[in-house]
Symmetry: C2
Subunit: 394 residues, 2 copies
């Protein structure tokens, strides 16, 4: 138990005077990760379409993989046999595994949640499984990621107070059991603050978890379809309850504009499938906002999609070529768009960090948000709901 508590793997380097933003670094057995940092999602031990070399070339220091997915396919024991997750996916950089709590409560068919653990059916083949906080840690220790997460219960964003409270109290108890069973000191264990959109529940969750002392604190249960102003209010209130000296991880965020908003509110770590998922749908990030490569304006464009971008895709191919690949459903399209979006986010994180270090973050943020036209709020909520619904039907 003492291992996780004593692990110091975060150095706070500078705090922004005009906001809550901070620059730091996560020290991991697989390298130093400058923060704020965005983790591309490789749920099934692959960031869709890309090789490890490409991720490295883009400048990605850390990836996220998912214990729920890897437990079902190929199975934890196979990854362990092949030498652990780093070796399995040939990734030498830092890795974080999510415990799978969110996926069990969103993807799988739930059978029964008790204080002991959760019985669920696989979303792939309907097979029945039982996971406890102890097993979630055991699996993540076998996978061997640098940062691992407690098992949490994550209710829907519109769940009633009582349901959210029960889930939060259970998540707290599970966090204690995860900490108790965590043995491998080179892996940092992060707790997950739950409590939905209810400040008093967030308060109880944070108070209890920080009293246990974890290597880092995640904020779960946000960005699940609630309005943006709620997301930010709860983020602010939760961050205020977390220790300065520990990293803060806002799970499932997100879009370029949300990341910058959250950095300003004191978040250090992000993960989201959004940049890679929208890339495969032909939505490419630029400093003016997302553009859709399927738009006829790109059909004859000799220039790259984003003339200010230095990624492999923009350096090598015209917008006309990308438009062509997408209109033919060519597999290379998804790959080139993924490279672009991850390069965009990575560069954005570098710039945000540099601005914090230079005491210019507030003007950087204002400038970025002024130019960047986010997807319309109504469209965004509809897309999110469609996506959450589609996930349930997988």
């Amino acid at each position: 138990m003492a291992l996780a508590r004593n692990l110091t793997n975060f150095h706070l380097i500078r705090a922004c005077p005009g906001s809550k933003a901070r620059a730091g670094e996560l020290v991991t057995p697989h390298g130093i990760v400058p923060t704020p940092v965005f983790l591309p999602v490789g749920s099934q031990a692959t960031v869709k379409t890309l090789t490890p070399e490409e991720l490295e070339e883009i400048g990605i220091p850390m990836l996220l993989a998912n214990t729920y997915h890897l437990y079902l396919r190929p199975g934890i024991s196979i990854i362990e046999k092949v030498g652990g997750l780093h070796r399995f996916m040939a990734w030498d950089g830092a890795l974080l595994t999510d415990s799978g709590g969110y996926q069990i409560f969103s993807l799988a068919t739930l059978r029964r949640v008790t204080d002991e653990g959760v019985i669920f059916r696989s979303h792939i083949d309907g097979s029945q499984h039982f996971i406890t906080p102890e097993l979630a840690i055991q699996f993540q220790e076998a996978l061997g990621a640098d940062i691992i997460m407690v098992l949490d219960e994550c209710p829907a964003s519109d769940a009633a107070f009582e349901k959210v409270e029960r889930a939060m109290l259970r998540t707290n108890q599970w966090a204690a059991r995860c900490q108790e069973s965590h043995k491998r000191g080179h892996q940092a264990l992060y707790a997950i603050v739950q409590g939905g959109i209810f400040p008093e529940l967030r308060h109880k969750s944070a108070e209890y978890l920080t009293s246990l002392g974890f290597a880092g604190y995640a904020i779960g249960g946000l960005s699940l379809g609630e309005p943006k102003e709620v997301t930010w209010r709860i983020t602010e209130e939760t961050v205020a309850l977390l220790p300065e000296a520990k990293p803060r991880y806002l799970m499932g965020v997100g879009s370029p504009e949300d990341i910058i908003e959250a950095v300003a509110r004191g978040i250090d770590v992000f993960d989201s499938a959004l940049p890679t998922r929208v890339a495969r749908n032909g939505a490419l990030f630029t400093r003016r906002g997302r553009v859709n490569i399927g738009n006829s304006v790109f059909k004859k464009m000799e220039e790259p999609v984003d003339a200010s971008c230095y990624c492999y895709t923009c350096n090598t191919f015209s917008a006309a070529y990308l438009h062509h690949l997408f209109s033919c459903d060519e597999l290379l399209a998804y790959r080139l768009a993924t490279i672009h979006n991850l390069s965009f986010i990575t560069k954005l994180m570098h710039e945000a960090r540099a601005a914090i270090l230079n005491n210019t973050f507030t003007s950087f943020k204002d400038g970025f948000l002024k130019d960047y036209k986010p997807t319309d709020e109504q469209v965004r909520l509809e897309q999110k709901q469609r996506w959450l619904k589609a996930r349930k039907n997988v």
Copy 2:
């Protein structure tokens, strides 16, 4: 007209004493291509899943792209505007464009073939188009490939003698018109010998086309579902009618064992979608034959699929990882398998060429065919028929 006739772009370096096999080189404006050579298929200006850099790393000297596909999408004028096909797809190596004849007669809905040209409907949107031999050349000159092909009429493998004869005679006349309209001397124009499975028609075709004098000669209308022994008999009889000093290109072949058989019969150039298509279905080449990565034997295999292979895929990932990616339908799977199969074929061509140069080709061939267990003939014919049928239904 004199341009194509006088273009010398093939050097015959060595002929095998024990077979018809030969080693040579194609001199092109985009590099010297050692022969025998296999051209990966990039119909839509992309070898599915791969970047130009990966193709170069594999050691691919020349690609094939398809005029029919590029004419429909994105349109010839767009590629011309962006600076030609090499620039459009960012490929600096050699390129060959097929005229699209085969695709018009297999993919499109035919409206009418006359001596003047062919009216067809696009397989994508049903739009109507008219192509003549002169337009086929004009399009290919605009695309700017190093080797271009005459427009040919390609009947089905089971077509009656009279139909095949008519198509062959028309192809001959179209070849003469293509030659007449071909203006750009840096592009080598190849003729296509037709005549189906009828030796006397092949004879008439070859006699006429060689009398016109082309930079190279392709054999079309084979490997379309006819039995293997017919393929080889017709190949042998046709090769015997072609000039020693010119390259010979067997269109649409193929599998590793067929390529080696055809090299022994005097073929210099090959193209086929087979290695890349079967890769995306999880069939990987090894010296013992194709293996299916979905087989449970690979589920826990720490070693690469092919321990004797030095490709990126086998160098980097276990068979267990590849098996996992395929069972999850992960897009990276198709890419890693494509890299492996193209590396296998490329290495095979290098070895065949080295054996010809060392006067050991016959024993190389016998050794390769002894170890390599081809797909069962019955299975092969069924697969081929299914595939041809599926193409008709696109």
